[in-house]
Amino acid sequence: MDLFIQYLVAGVTYGIMYAIVAIGFNIIYNTTGIINFAQGEFVMLGGMTAISLLEYLPLPLAIAAAVLITMLIGALIEMVFIRWLDSPSVLRMIIITIGLSILIREVALHIWGENIRSLPYFYGDEVTTVSFGPVRLSPQVLWVIGICTVMVACLSLFFKVTPLGREMRACSANRTAAILCGINTRNMVTFSFMLSAGIGALAGCVMSPITYTQYDSGTSLAIKGFTVAILGGLGNSVGAVAAGILLGIIEAFSVSVLPLAYQDVISITILLLILFWRPYGLFGSSAAARLKEF
């Protein structure tokens, strides 16, 4: 029973991480209709930058600076590579963002090398535990769950309440109508890249002590985040959280049945199955999905 809860908590921790990556996909998808294949690289960049800045800054400042820097990189990428393209085809956008992900990864390889790095634990160290009755948890797990929950809450508030958030939603609901209302949709696209880079980077920082950060850790995160985004229904962020936790738990429990090396295979198999049977997600409807463009 204790083991069961340990697995459960581990699953939730990883799951919420996947959900954050999935929300990053969703934000960009909603405003542009693009799946940004470089989403996982933002997570890696956030973690790596924070680790490097830690030499000069205290931990909270290093993380904040890393998030800002990654947001700037996200904006820069959008302005240089995407902003001026005139209604590009989906195939073209897929290939460009894949190229970007390779490029970011290679730049990271040349800056940081192949070493596996990590941020220190926010509180205590590897062996510090917090006990809840019979269950013992690392405090970092609580940090991850706490920060990610706050982040999801802030995001939904941002989209509901602030003018900028509303403009972004308008842009995703109907681009032409948004332009007619005087919204600069191009800027909204830039904002969406900044935002998704920022939340990816923050997630990369809080997870770094547990999962470690390496120059190529983005790809597997991206594919899991995408699995979660599809499971929850593309563009649906509440669905993404539920689906993320679901995938995390499935993965955590699969370790007890299958060798660890096959862990990624599980989530990809789930991705393939969901693409084949319910491409509109667990919570979506097929009628609504037909109106969207992939």
């Binding site: 290939i95 460009i96 190229g99 995408f226």
Partner: protein, 362 residues
């Protein structure tokens, strides 16, 4: 169209022979090794070009098919079956000449699957997987198709990395040569192997295969099938409406390109004598996509030229540690400035008969 095809084929054959002559005259025959390897990689790329450029279906998992062919052939021809020699299945296989005996580096007796049977097994497995995978996957479009094929590629990579039979992170080495022609009626034996003395014949085997493969694909795209594929690329709904069986054609091309990739994998593995997990990696799949994109997607000759020459440069190591970065950059630049491939830039410039817009900067 027809005469153009044969003219290009003739030029290609003459070039292949001329390049061999040139390396011989200048004493630079060491180039032949990379020329041979690039020909096999170009084979993967032209197969993928038909799928991407003509049928319009992206695949970011073709290194997976390459690895299926290479790894199966490599594993079957190196794993010693001697301890199981008496089992009825192996007795039957040996009687059918599917098994062969040999010696390893230390003079130990080996009983392995014969390369031709292993090759057949690798290619058929790749085709079968493509068939089974293709039925559901090719129903998907755009991002979903890209992610599904990417997922397939990662699964294959994870499997070869985690399976002892496939050598895990070390891959498979000491793969024996592949006798493609046993040498009857006074003609010499043809063996695919990295042996130094066989360098010239391997160069011709590789290019011969590439040229035949190219010829078949050119015929295919000039045929009814080719027109159907282009119709699918233009608009799948319209193609279906005029009676094109879109699902079947897409599946056939998917299987065909998988067969090309796995064949190249089998031959290159026997040529190198080894295969490692990097051949199955996502970055390899992306590289194939990049080469197809640079060549102009629906331009087989362009894809052949760019696929061969960039792979050759990369194998010669002129990109150094920036190898993958170079391919990523190429991918982005081509898609930004010249989505029809860089060979199209000049033609477009002429057509516009002006400054040519942003394409000139590429």
């Amino acid at each position: 169209m027809k005469s153009g095809k044969y003219r290009f084929m003739a030029i290609l054959i003459i070039l292949v022979i001329a390049v061999h002559g040139l390396t011989r005259l200048t004493g630079t025959q060491y180039y032949l090794t990379q020329l041979t390897m690039s020909a096999y990689y170009a084979m993967v790329v032209i197969g993928l070009a038909v799928l991407m450029g003509y049928a319009g279906q992206i695949s970011i998992g073709h290194a997976g098919f390459f690895a299926i062919g290479g790894y199966l052939s490599g594993a079957l021809t190196t794993h010693n079956l001697l301890p199981f020699r008496e089992t009825p299945v192996l007795v039957l296989l040996e009687r059918l000449h599917i098994l062969q005996t040999g010696q390893d580096l230390y003079g130990e007796q080996l009983l392995t699957v014969a390369p031709w049977a292993a090759c057949l097994c690798g290619v058929l497995t790749a085709a079968l997987i493509a068939l089974v995978l293709g039925v559901p996957v090719l129903k998907l479009k755009g991002h979903y198709l890209a992610m599904a094929t990417l997922g397939f590629g990662i699964i294959i990579f994870q499997i070869v990395m985690a399976t002892e039979y496939f050598g895990e992170a070390d891959g498979i080495s000491e793969v024996p040569g592949f006798v493609v022609f046993p040498g009857i009626a006074g003609m010499g034996r043809l063996v695919v192997s990295g042996d130094f003395s066989l360098r010239v014949q391997n160069y011709y085997i590789a290019w011969g295969m590439l040229i035949i493969g190219m010829y078949l694909l050119l015929n295919l795209i000039d045929s009814r099938v080719g027109r159907a594929l282009r119709a699918i690329h233009g608009s799948e709904e319209a193609a279906a409406a005029i009676g094109v069986d879109t699902a079947r054609f897409k599946l056939q091309v998917f299987v065909l390109s998988a067969v090309y990739a796995s064949l190249a994998g089998v031959f290159l593995t026997h040529y190198n004598g080894s295969i490692g997990p990097s051949e199955a990696s996502i970055i390899k799949s992306v590289r194939y996509v990049a080469l197809v994109a640079v060549g102009g997607m629906a331009n087989l000759w362009g894809v052949l030229i760019m696929g061969f020459s960039l792979t050759f440069l990369s194998l010669r190591g002129i990109f150094g540690t920036y190898d993958d970065a170079v391919f990523g950059t190429i991918l982005i630049l081509v898609m930004l400035f010249a989505p029809d491939g860089i060979l199209s830039i000049r033609a477009r410039g002429w057509l516009k008969s002006g400054t040519g817009g942003p394409v000139d900067h590429a």
